[in-house]
């Protein structure tokens, strides 16, 4: 059970493809920085591969003017929520 941290926009297709191949059945994905754009409904095709186990960092959404525009399937977490995800997942892999 791993937490995956992703900071690239959905335009970085190779990173999303590689992450999709490494993503385990119990894994969780947190979108940060420019990966926030993958939380928009328009990018739902990119996120489908992660089976609803996707969160996005609220602070980075707000700084990009994307708050309130997130797909309903994605959970919005703040920094405390980010910390909580690292508490419950023993391993954290960063994709960049």
């Amino acid at each position: 059970m791993q937490l995956h941290l992703l900071n690239r926009s959905p335009q970085s297709t190779a990173v999303y493809r590689d992450l999709g191949e490494a993503f385990g059945a119990d894994d969780q994905l947190l979108l940060i920085e420019d990966a926030c754009y993958a939380a928009l409904p328009a990018a739902s095709g990119v996120i489908e591969a992660f089976g609803g186990r996707v969160s996005v960092l609220e602070e980075d959404l707000v700084s990009r003017g994307l708050a309130g525009r997130v797909s309903p399937a994605i959970t919005v977490v703040d920094m405390k929520g980010f910390l909580a995800l690292t508490e419950t997942h023993e391993r954290c892999v960063s994709w960049f």
């Binding site: 941290l5 900071n7 940060i32 920085e33 420019d34 602070e59 980075d60 920094m79 405390k80 980010f82 910390l83 690292t86 508490e87 023993e90 954290c92 960063s94 960049f96």
Partner: protein, 131 residues
């Protein structure tokens, strides 16, 4: 309580990752955990520059890292090989290389990659922030 270490690959102000790392570091200590060490690697070594002088109304990243050391005892470890290549030196290294000045000062420490391995092995979590 968990012991955390952070690995920062990103230069300050050129990508969000260094700021993300500092914000997460604050969340760690605010959340009741211990942030044992931050290891600055690749372009991340620029976070250690004592000459960093951002505008006063902007976040001062180097001061933010130093505050973590002062308030929480966090070790600030700078990869010496990455630092030397990029002109990040303390007084010892400046003298060794015959250079007139230095820009890495305590609490930042120039260290080897072994310290990163040590941080990985001896803490519960290692979180990487990269550009």
């Amino acid at each position: 309580m968990l012991n955390y270490a952070l690995l920062v690959h990103a230069a300050p102000y050129s990508h969000q990752a260094a700021l993300s790392a500092l914000r997460f570091a604050d969340a760690i200590v605010t959340g009741g955990h211990r942030l044992a060490a931050v290891f600055f690697y690749h372009d991340g070594v620029h976070n250690a520059s004592a000459l960093m002088s951002p505008p006063q109304d902007e976040i001062h990243l180097a001061e933010g890292w130093k505050r973590l050391h002062e308030d929480h005892g966090t070790q600030l470890l700078v990869c010496i090989a990455a630092g030397l290549r990029r002109g990040l030196l303390n007084t010892d290294e400046a003298n060794r290389h015959g250079l007139a000045s230095h820009n890495v000062e305590a609490p930042f420490e120039l260290t080897g990659i072994g310290q990163l391995v040590d941080a990985m092995l001896n803490n519960d979590r290692l979180i990487t922030f990269a550009p």
